[in-house]
């Protein structure tokens, strides 16, 4: 078959006097000619190919809330065995929690010193070693048969997500301390932490952890229980820098809450009820879209969705159990059972949670979108950019053209200049830093744009592995910046100037987004890398490229 195909190509006999003096020469020359034709065809259609790739990518993105791309959750690490134990947390422990709550209510408005004194007194009455850092109080339970090499962290911070005191969360923690002492079926040390404020106390504890503890923390739980009763457990799982816990942690807590505690779970505290708008599939689609948008919001900014987020930087798989305030029916009893049973599951682990279960999107409780079903969208968007960058005739000159944007952003970061001040950089760059009139040369402009396309086209799929929503955000920005004509382009660019956008989002529209503070306090890399190293250079160069040739 193959040989017949080959024979057909041989064509006219070779002319011994020409360059192609053998049959092989003739066939090779034909092959080369055909290859060139095909390449030329593709080369001419590149804008179309880019358009098709970007459209499929966007379409894929819009399809994510559709059920066909989802899978049902399962527990991958068999050792976890969620909800397979008889819980021992009982009404006398609830009574203890109530007593602690009474004590806590008296010291709501006191100073940290008074609070930590009360907490340490309560912990030490239960026979647990307890102490404090400058912003947190901790207790270290060493069960008889634990080797002390591995630990589980349970925290309840003083301030809840709501901004109100998390008294019942702390009371649960105190009661757990009393409850867990002396039980001999634990293989892990258990560390209980009450952090000051919403997150800073826990971050302070984690920064001091390794100088006083030997155990390695593998898993963690943060309890947030602001109301007097609760109806659901809202699971918040996004950590700082968009690091997600291993999905087994979420699946375990969800199963334990459902089967041991009898508590329904939600994600991000969004009610899991399909609204009656249009057909049923549309309502489901909208609900899943809402879930994903909330998730995208946390992931794009790299902000932790709740206080457990500070643990992410320390390689601890953790989440926050937020007890949705309500008139009932749940309280200390079901929460205590859920926490106990979850800890028992974590206690079964022989090694860190490690299967590649870190990459997922959750559109609906009990469902998830595996990486293979969402990643292509980012890859397609990224490749649409990359392909546009192949035509780069004079890369060195192009590099000189785009470099100032990166250098100015770096300087701005080093000297702590607000990104809003960088508005003037493109103008300075065009007016004063343009001795060779580089911007007037069409060839240089084209090459520099190609370089940018190549750079951002390669960043996007790489970033998509770590933080898919950020990659999608960056690819949509880049597509807009590089493809829009001058007038709408400038409008979009001025709206999305990172400095302007961030100052709008800080304290307006009910959003409090202070990325700089997040970077200083908790190490959110979106500020130095996301804003200064990626977004600002892109923005400056896009403005420069859009400017009319004078």
């Amino acid at each position: 078959m193959l040989s017949r195909l080959r024979r057909r190509e041989t064509g006219p006999p070779p002319d011994v006097k020409s360059v192609n003096f053998t049959r092989e020469h003739v066939s090779v020359s034909k092959t080369i000619a055909r290859r060139k034709r095909v390449l030329a065809l593709i080369w001419n259609k590149i804008p179309l190919i880019r358009f098709i790739l970007a459209s499929i990518g966007l379409l894929w993105l819009l399809l994510l809330p559709y059920e066909g791309l989802w899978k049902g959750t399962y527990v991958d690490e068999h050792a976890l065995q969620p909800a397979q134990v008889n819980t021992k947390f009982d009404w006398d422990n609830v009574h203890k929690a109530d007593l602690c709550l009474g004590g806590l209510e008296q010291i709501v408005d006191s100073s940290f010193e008074e609070r930590t004194a009360y907490l340490q007194e309560t912990f030490s009455q239960s026979g647990i070693h307890t102490s404090n850092t400058t912003k947190s109080t901790y207790a270290h339970i060493r069960p008889p048969r634990s080797k002390g090499t591995e630990s589980i962290l349970v925290s309840a911070n003083w301030i809840s997500r709501d901004g109100t005191p998390n008294l019942r969360g702390v009371a649960t923690l105190l009661a757990m301390g009393d409850f867990l002492r002396g039980q001999n079926h634990w293989a892990f040390d258990i560390i209980l932490v009450v952090g000051e404020d919403y997150m800073t106390g826990l971050e302070d504890f984690m920064r001091n952890y390794h100088s006083s503890f030997t155990g390695v923390i593998w898993t963690g739980l943060n309890i947030d229980y602001p109301g007097h009763s609760f109806s659901h457990i809202g699971l918040f799982y996004e950590g700082i820098n968009g690091r997600l816990p291993n999905q087994d942690v979420i699946n375990t807590v969800q199963r334990v809450a459902h089967f041991s505690g009898g508590i329904p779970t939600r994600f991000h505290n969004i009610p899991d009820e399909v609204k009656n708008i249009g057909p049923e599939w549309f309502g489901k689609y909208i609900l899943a879209g809402k879930q994903l948008l909330h998730h995208f919001g946390y992931m794009i900014t790299g902000k932790a969705s709740a206080a457990h987020g500070v643990l992410a930087r320390h390689r601890i798989d953790s989440l926050t159990m937020y007890c949705t305030p309500s008139e009932g029916p749940h309280g200390f009893h079901s929460l205590g059972k859920t926490v106990e049973s979850t800890l028992r599951s974590f206690n079964n682990l022989l090694e860190r949670l490690h299967a590649s279960y870190f990459f997922y999107l959750i559109p609906k409780p009990w469902n998830f979108i595996p990486i293979g079903n969402y990643l292509p969208s980012a890859i397609l968007l990224g490749s649409s950019l990359t392909i546009g960058g192949f035509d780069c005739s004079i890369p060195i000159q192009g590099l000189f053209f785009i470099l100032p944007g990166f250098i100015f952003s770096l300087l701005a970061f080093l000297f702590e200049i607000n990104p809003i001040s960088l508005l003037i950089i493109p103008i300075i760059q065009m007016k004063f830093l343009n001795p060779y009139k580089l911007n007037n040369n069409k060839e240089i402009r084209k090459s520099s744009k190609s370089l940018l396309l190549l750079l951002y086209g390669s960043i996007i799929p790489t970033l998509a592995m770590l933080n898919f929503p950020q990659a999608i955000f960056l690819s949509i920005l880049s597509l807009l910046y590089f493809n829009l004509p001058e007038i709408p382009g400038l409008v979009i660019l001025s709206i999305t100037q990172p400095g302007i956008l961030l100052s709008l989002l800080d304290g307006h529209f009910g959003i409090n987004l202070n990325l700089k503070q997040d970077w200083i306090e908790f190490g959110n890399l979106t500020w130095p890398i996301g804003i200064y190293a990626i977004w600002l250079p892109l923005w400056i160069n896009s403005v420069v490229l859009l400017q009319r040739i004078s």
């Binding site: 020469h25 060139k36 009455q125 080797k147 002390g148 002396g182 155990g215 022989l350 490690h354 590649s356």
Partner: protein, 557 residues
Amino acid sequence: MLLSSLSILIFAPIYHGLAKRTPGKSHDDAFYESLTLHPLPDGRMSVLFEFETIFSSSESLSSIPQSHHSLTPPSLLLPLKANNVSELTISFTSGWDQIRSSSSGLLNYESSGGGGEIRGWLKDGNDIENRWNAVTNALGGLFCAGLGSKDLGDNVRDFGNIYRPKLDVTNTSHFLLSHPESHLCTENLTPFLSLLPSKGSSGISALLSQPGIIFSWESQSEGIEVLMPSGDGQGRWKGWWEGVIDLVPEKGGSRRTSISKMFNKKIPKPFPEVQNSVLRLIVEDEGLQALPSGLAKQEWIDGKIRKVLEWDLQNSTLIGGDIEFWWDGEDRFQYPRTIDPPPITVTRTVIDRVASDGTFQIILSNQDNYERKAIYSEIWPWWVKGWMSEVELLVGNEQKPELLDNLHYNPSTPPKISTTTLHFYLTIPANSKLILKIPFTKLTLKYTEHRPDAERGIEISSGVLTLLDTLPESQLAESEIFNSRRTGRKRIYTNRLLLDVPTPDFSMPYNVIIMSSTVMAVFFGLMQGALTRKWGWVELPSVAEKVVKADDGKKSD
């Protein structure tokens, strides 16, 4: 005739026992046992079983090597004798909480730090390493635990200064093999009991032969120490089992307890061959009462004079009975808010943790008013590489390099499996915290060197602080009641550490294989193509020229 020989067989132990009690017979074995109870400040109680057997050398009896012992099992002694071992200690320990016990280690001073450990002195001669391997493997089999080395390089040879010989035998070499990953489990109890003459059926060993109770204890430690006889002298082997019981009920209450409450058994009938079987209670505070009361004594134990109550368990009035312990007027035990720390504590943590590096931070705190001299020793696997030029010694925030008197550093030689050992000769100033910081890098392990459950990380052996200025406990000076130097505890151990090691994703080997094979194939294909291709000059047909021209034309537009 048959009947009489049968009767001899049946009564043999009794005849033998009677014979033994008469003094003057040098070739007889003797057996001692004791059970020590020591209440700890936070409502717990240390329990230590000790079994000691004296045996004599039987070599002089015949020219053919043979072993005649009535109380010591040959399975223990034969491998030691065959391999010319002089002393040997095996210990398994699960750890110790220095913070909440006012004591810097277990009651038994010979227990090692966390994990399993086998150490001993071998008489010099041919094949010493092979003999050591034979001993470790034989005893590992005896204890149902992997005590042997995975590689010759795992053996540590320079800890002779730390574990000095107890026998006065010259020309011996020290070996140590540490297994920080091992832990005490049910399988270790049965072989331990089978080594004892009483086999767990009589005497205090009957209290020990209850895995359901024993293994719920805290800070357990098991071990044996064998001193082989030299010439026709006497040998001695000692076995111990230690643990900590929580006396406070799970829901709170008083610490009141008794032998039958702790062990779920009454005081057992004594082992007929035993020389001495005692129960000892170390009384720390005056409120502690016991009924029936024992014989009170003063004894110097671990840096302090302590009151000890003793009961002779061979006493027929106690057998089948019970002894109760309670604290006067205690209705509900109140946990103390603070617990006095022991005079010297050692903690070791890893700070500045990143995937590839870290820093060992060892805090040595001395509560006493006088400075102490000590050696701090570490054993590292080959993949832990210390930055020895960056070792820091601090008191508070102040650098104190002068407190390091000497340093013995024996580096490993990777990639061969070997260990790094370090001995810091230190002065620990009075009333201070000495901080030793050793930065290190984790080298990458070959994928075959990862343990099962690779993502768990790998344990590092306990660090050992050897105190150089201790005084014997027995020399009781009249005026003193407290002197932390006067103790038999020469070594204080840190906890074990679990280090995360860079681990390949073993959970998806198939993907990894596909990925790496593809990269290899593409690379090979490129190279193969370039090397085998024939290079030449070809003229393209006119159609192609047209396209190329058209393309060029577009570009120049």
